[in-house]
């Protein structure tokens, strides 16, 4: 693993029981870099993230995170400054905004300072701390998810399809925060929304049936290359 690589996957395979959903995926992310992993449904994107985070067993290959050989459990990852925002049921709907944010940290002692930091990006949260997370609008909930991920001041952010179902204005805001306010964190963004992904990440990779079929930098030809892969 290279010196400044915060995440490295070599020939990683994983899946559910006997089904291999992710086959031989290799990719690397350097400190501070942002990579978008794109692909249609069922192509393995969420499976890949879950494997990196230790929620699914590694069936082949190797993962290195922040200098340590994986797989690491979610708790160990949090200790290392890795933040994960899952796609399914990512919030505790019945807990308050404040309690949802508290769960991002390992100790309540650091809460005050961490809160100040994220409220700067999402001021509306300051007024809603006592509200139940389920009463926020869809867009506000996504922003809360992002805020929670940033509470840790993470070194690596793993985000699964945060753009789903969002209005353009909210998308822009979230893209802005991800671009500029992640304080040097590396970012692995799993997405289906191509434009959103390219507005945030400077590199991209397309996952098709569990394998990386194409990847590259965000240059002039990127968009049409990716569309070709994603469409019917």
């Amino acid at each position: 693993m290279a010196e400044d690589e915060i995440l490295a996957l070599r020939d990683v395979s994983s899946g559910y029981g006997a089904v291999a959903v992710v086959r031989s995926v290799s990719l690397a992310l350097r400190s501070g870099e942002a990579l978008a992993v794109l692909g249609k449904n069922g192509m393995g994107k969420t499976t890949l993230l879950k494997t990196i985070v230790g929620l699914l067993p590694l069936q082949g290959g190797a993962i290195h995170i922040a200098g340590t050989k994986g797989p690491l459990s979610p708790a160990e990852l949090v200790a290392k400054g890795v933040s994960y925002a899952p796609q399914e049921q990512p919030l505790f709907q019945d807990l308050s905004v404040r309690d949802n944010l508290r769960l991002a940290l390992r100790r309540d002692a650091e809460f005050g300072r961490a809160l100040e930091h994220v409220v700067g990006n999402f001021p509306f949260l300051a007024e809603r701390l006592k509200q139940r997370a389920g009463t926020l609008s869809g867009g506000e909930q996504k922003m809360l998810i992002l805020a929670r991920a940033l509470m840790l001041k993470p070194r690596l952010l793993l985000i699964d399809e945060i753009s789903e179902g969002l209005q353009p204005s909210v998308l822009d805001r979230i893209a802005g925060v991800l671009r500029q306010e992640r304080s040097g964190a590396a970012l692995l963004l799993v997405e289906q929304n191509l434009d959103f992904a390219l507005s945030v990440a400077e590199r991209w990779a397309v996952l098709e049936r569990g394998e990386i079929r194409d990847q590259g930098p965000r240059d002039a030809g990127a968009r049409s290359r990716i569309i070709g892969r994603l469409s019917l």
Partner: protein, 582 residues
Amino acid sequence: MLENALKASRLAPALFAGAALLVWFAPLFLDPFAANVLTRSLIYAALAATVDLLWGYTGILTFAQGAFFGVGAYATALTMTSFGATPAAILGALALGVLVPAALGALVGWISFHQNSTPLYASVISLVFPIVVTQLVYSGGAWTGSSSGLVGYDVLPLELEGFFRLAGLLLVAVVAAAWIFVRSDAGKLLVAVRDNETRCAYLDIDPKRIQILLTTALAAVAGLAGFVFAHASGVVAPENVGFVFGTELVIWVALGGRASLFGPVFAAIGIDYLSANLSGDLPFLWQLVLGGVFVVTIILLPDGAAGLARRAFGAARPRRVRLQTAETRAQTLASGPLLEVSGLARGFGSLAVLRDIDLRVSAGELLSIVGPNGAGKTTFMRCVSDGLEPFRGVIKIAGVSIAGKPPDRVAALGVGRKFQVASIFEGLTVVDCLRLARASREAPSALRASPSLSLPLACVEVLELTGLSGLLTSPARLLSHGMKQALELAMVLALEPSLILLDEPTAGLTKSERTLIGDVLKQLTAQAGCAVILVEHDFDFVREISSRIVVLHQGRLVLDGTVEDVTNSETVRAIYAGAGHG
């Protein structure tokens, strides 16, 4: 090992006859104390067999069998107390001893097994029932004998040997009947209900009805055991009704081995007999050891002693079965569309998952539903196959509205649903899964395991194309993922549905497997007058086989057309690029 021998050869009738003979002559060799204790142990063993049927085979953890037994015993004792040992009274006691528990069994079953009930709830009810009965007995005053119980009533004019034989024959009869049933085709229904209630429902088999019927029938058997007990022991007390006794039965089944019949029977006899003999010296230590062994067994040896025996001697090999092609039933071709959806809407709280969907699908169509994640595709499938889903709008299958109909009633209308994660019966063999899938069309025998199985042509083709026809006797849980998907598809086809719903049928399949499935689906719609609706992400597959594609996005039906229409559509391209949000 015994089970092995019985299954492998046709010795069964001989062995049961042998057991009956053993029971007949045993009293000649036993001292009175042993005979007395064993009479009780044999009756308890019959009860343990019923608990095994309920828990081991059907997955219903019940503590109530002891109570049904006690009710039968009390009914008998009360009748004998009131009327003496006249033939009429004895017959009356027999009738009451069986029918009263049966009625209570039906009641308990009705309370325990309903649409939203869970296994935990059923267990809890089975615990509450004995407690209520116990309290009723206590509050019955002189009539029920309260805490002292009923004694001194007239009994059947049999001596100690006679009662021993009666108890023994009861046990042999119960175990023989149970054994014949679980080996038969219909007996597999128990395991199916235990393994996968949902799949049963979607095969037009009502799992709740089976659970209620079984509870009622076995309550009757327990009552019969109670009748024999009341006569043999001459004493009926609250301990015979209580839930402590009910839990003892469960413990014996756990130790003997769930779903083995013989394990629980021998465990019951052994433990009860030992308890009676040790009681004088070390009552508490014995209970302590038993409790400890029970806990250890649950944690480390969930299959009990029978499980150990199976591992030592190997499980029995299932018999071969021949496949036949069935005559397809006369297709009453619906003149109208097979599926009519009007104004379908479904929300979860404030989140609208489906909005205003209109769709008509006729026989011969192969429709694919595509759309990004969260578009509502699986919710749509669920609404169309389960009338209990709280949707708004109208859904009709072959002209009949499905609102309020549970999945088995919808399946009866001709809907077959295949799930994304293969939903089969892991505890059964391939052929048994298929036979049960066919159960709603051809009732399985309750007495024998048929050596042949008739399946519709499409089903047989899938089995042959995928190679499953060579794996008929293989346990379903050992199949590869692709094979499980194929088996589930075959099971759905065995239903002979007119509307087939498939949720991601190609997930995890190899290229060749996908082509095979695609060919079968195309054939079905072309020749058998079915309609197929599938949810898929694999667009090559969709393009190859679909006659029509429907695009869902954020709960709305955005496009409905031919393969060319949809592939070339700008709207669709935009949706996948992320531009189309609403």
